[in-house]
């Protein structure tokens, strides 16, 4: 615990602090950058991009060794991964544009083929004399083991650069995600904006390869936006909240894995963000599961209450057990099924409301107002007192034009 707290507050040594900072910045970039793809309903493109990095890592290693280097230089490996990821992305785009394949099919094809090539290359590298200690498998699930100071700087700097570009492009990207037809009519190059969205995700993937790994980086691109969506109805808030959720996941995850040497960084970061997701899914106001269950219950109670009161007003027996329970709980009905005084008043009022609505629906022509009749809405929320008085007199109300 003490080691975890030390790591959390950057007291666990210079390197660990740098890793935590890098992970936080990467998480922020991933959450915010992934938001636009999520809002554009193209989140899975990131999966194709991530898997398409693997052959690049292998090829870059082989090329660097062939040129007499040691092959493990992180910038070199990342450059290679960016190149094949870009090719994979262009492959998806090309298939969607030139064939009748839908995007999900294209993603599936590119993802598996590129990943297959990558695995073959890693196997070949294993048989090379320099390949044994290359540690390229680390790119699959991420690891902080053997991470150099400049590697951490690369991750932190890259993450910060991506966040800056997201900020610059936030408006065109939001517009294209919401209404591409309108954006195009305004003269925006929708295809280029789409490429920018995926390009940012590609950058995050490449930067995060070392720390989180290509299999799990997708989670960091998708889970924070989905989590943020539970809390906000505004795109801009969703984007930055997703960034914060990603940053917190990265920071806490890196600290946790630094405090126990055997804990892998990538999976821990992903699990932290999944935890935040679960909490939001259950407890977010308005959009959370709990809130919607409660809202449904409250609505059901309103329906039963109204139906029960209408039955009372007509002196009909009430049979539905839930209706009975609600009427009795509110003191509207006695145990023997007879209306109390309070219930009598309420049922008279409800019956009058129904009667007014039925006159209103016959006399009034404004469908927008009449359309608000749903059996539950009291008429005085829709019409003015004067109009209701006219309904009571059986006359058509003057329509406000």
């Amino acid at each position: 615990m003490a080691t975890f707290l030390n790591a959390l507050f950057l007291q666990a040594g210079y390197n660990a602090a740098l890793v935590a900072l890098g992970a936080a910045l990467l998480g922020f970039a991933a959450g915010a950058g992934g938001s636009f793809l999520f809002l554009r309903k193209r989140a899975l493109v990131s999966d194709a991009v991530a898997h398409a990095t693997l052959p690049g890592v292998g090829l870059a290693f082989i090329v660097m060794v062939a040129l007499g280097g040691d092959g493990r230089s992180l910038p070199g490996l990342l450059l290679g991964s960016a190149i094949t990821a870009w090719l994979g992305l262009l492959g998806v785009e090309w298939m969607v544009r030139r064939t009748r394949l839908s995007e999900d099919a294209a993603i599936g094809a590119i993802l598996s083929v590129f990943f297959g090539i990558g695995i073959v290359l890693l196997t070949i590298i294993q048989s090379m004399s320099q390949g044994r200690q290359a540690g390229l498998e680390g790119f699959l699930l991420g690891s902080t083991a053997g991470m150099l100071f400049q590697d951490a700087v690369l991750i932190a700097g890259g993450g910060a650069a991506v966040v800056a570009i997201i900020w610059l492009l936030r408006r065109p990207m939001t517009m294209v995600a919401f209404d591409p037809g309108f954006a195009a009519a305004r003269g925006m190059n929708v295809r280029r904006v789409d490429l920018a969205m995926v390009g940012l995700v590609l950058a995050v993937t490449v930067i995060g390869l070392k720390l989180v790994g290509l299999i799990l980086i997708v989670a960091l691109l998708i889970i924070p936006p989905v989590t943020a969506r539970f809390w906000s109805e505004r795109a801009e808030t969703v984007v930055w909240a997703a960034g914060v959720i990603g940053a917190v996941s990265g920071w806490v995850g890196a600290a946790l894995s630094a405090s126990a040497p055997d804990l892998p960084t990538g999976p821990i970061i992903v699990l932290i963000s999944a935890g935040l997701f679960s909490l939001s899914l259950l407890f977010a106001p308005a959009r959370g599961v709990l809130a919607s269950i409660l809202a449904r219950r409250a609505f059901q109670a309103r329906v039963h209450r109204r139906q029960g009161l209408l039955a009372l007003s007509r002196s009909e027996p009430v049979h539905d057990p839930l209706t009975l329970r609600i009427l009795r709980r509110e003191g509207l009905m006695r145990a023997d099924g007879v209306a109390t005084d309070k219930g009598g008043i309420a049922s008279t009022r409800v019956a009058r409301d129904e009667r007014r609505w039925s006159i209103a629906r016959r006399l009034h022509h404004d469908t927008a107002l009449i359309g608000r009749y749903d059996g539950l809405t009291p008429i005085d929320e829709v019409f003015t007192r004067d109009e209701i008085a006219q309904f009571d007199a059986g006359l058509p109300a003057a329509e406000g034009v």
Binding site: M175, A177, F178, G181, F182, R186, R234, A235, V238, T367
Partner: protein, 264 residues
Amino acid sequence: MSDLHVVTSPATLDPASPLAVRGLTVSYGEKPALFSLDASFPAGAMSAIVGPNGAGKSTFLKAALGLIPRVSGEVTIFGHDVNRARDRIAYVPQRASVDWDFPTTAIDVVLMGLYGQIGLWRRISGAHRARARACLDRVGMADFADRQIGQLSGGQQQRVFLARALAQDADLFLLDEPFAGVDAATEAAIIEVLKSLKAEGRSVVAVHHDLSTVSAYFDHVLLVNLRRIAEGPIATAFTADTLSETYGGRLGALQIEGLALVGT
């Protein structure tokens, strides 16, 4: 038969027209949706594009805006190429074209219409917000500014889209079925706004599906069914003859007589 209404293609497109096309052909795959269409809408007027389902009405707007590629033909906006006139056009797409669960509020949608003036990076100022609110007010939606768009009724959503177009302060308004699936109050509110735009000298071109309101709402009409069937002022172009040619057997003779102003 149809030769009656086919005018030879104009040599040049009228530079005064807010939207003029010549020989416009658009195709999905190898099936043309519009074939060699000519049209020239008058400035400062309200024009309707009318025709049966699948006649190419929405396609016409999208091709005019350059949203879908054209196989042949020319389009001018106030005499210019559409790319040089973007700032003068406001487009209201069909309501069905967006995701209503998208996290955005009514005022955010209207602010998108102002992005042209705000620029990509500048902060959204109080003046911008006030302007967006004024546009919402003009369509009677000021009270709903902070509602998520999915929580609005169909008619209210359509009014928010119109408010976004108003925010663009354009000279030409292109609307795709603005009255589809909206309530009577919304239809009245929208038509009032469109008439006020016309009174300000702006031009309106709308795809319209309700034949019974064409002559009440519009000054000019383009009847289209793959080709141009007729175009001109309502009085001359919206006749029993042209309607029966546009709709074929889909409209009964009696129905047509009730709709058209002039029977021949």
